[in-house]
């Protein structure tokens, strides 16, 4: 099983609440990614990081923010959740070696529902 962990697995929260989705990996990978995916649909890159103190926005505009203070940790924060944020959020990681051999390693995802 992949050594990348996402918590919580499922979250139901009210509109306007602040939430943080956690992602941690124990593989020492320098690159980490957040994707948003509606059920059964395509992946949309919302944030990525190539190392500590490095974060970039992805292809899909998102109201979320990320931080990368430690190599192993890449949390995603929504300051004020809205129903339009209801989706599955997938975290992934890679490095120079695994990127060439396996692409990315994915966590199991967080299914977020905003009511």
């Amino acid at each position: 099983e992949a050594d990348i962990y996402q918590t919580p697995r499922y979250l139901v929260i009210g509109t306007g609440k602040k939430i943080t989705l956690e992602c941690s990996q124990t593989m020492g990978h320098d690159k980490m990614y957040w994707y948003q995916q509606d059920p059964g649909m395509e992946l949309h890159l919302i944030h990525y990081s190539y190392g500590v103190n490095s974060t970039e926005k992805g292809d899909l505009s998102s109201e979320s923010t990320v931080s990368r203070i430690r190599t192993e940790h890449f949390p995603l924060t929504l300051e004020s959740a809205r129903p339009s944020h209801t989706s599955q959020y997938l975290c992934a990681s890679s490095d120079l070696l695994t990127g060439a051999n396996y692409g990315y390693t994915f966590g199991s995802g967080t299914r977020l529902t905003v009511v």
Partner: protein, 115 residues
Amino acid sequence: AQSVAQPEDQVNVAEGNPLTVKCTYSVSGNPYLFWYVQYPNRGLQFLLKYITGDNLVKGSYGFEAEFNKSQTSFHLKKPSALVSDSALYFCAVSPPMDSNYQLIWGAGTKLIIKP
């Protein structure tokens, strides 16, 4: 612009029959090519990759993929489908000049195997 196309949203196959899930790409040079599988409410799992060498590559769960450079295709195949193969399949490409191995994703194909 670089892109990956999975022309079929859904593929239906009877159990025991061969299956093909199509992928074509528009990336210059010789990219790395990947297939991933996603089961419901899970992250993506690596299936197989092509970097160089034999055009037919073998991967997990009896899957294989055929690389065709002239057609810029990387179709996923399996000689005899199982009901348990039903899942969402993603093709991904890593452009050759991207030292970060950031992946470009297809939109996904839902594979349904009927008993």
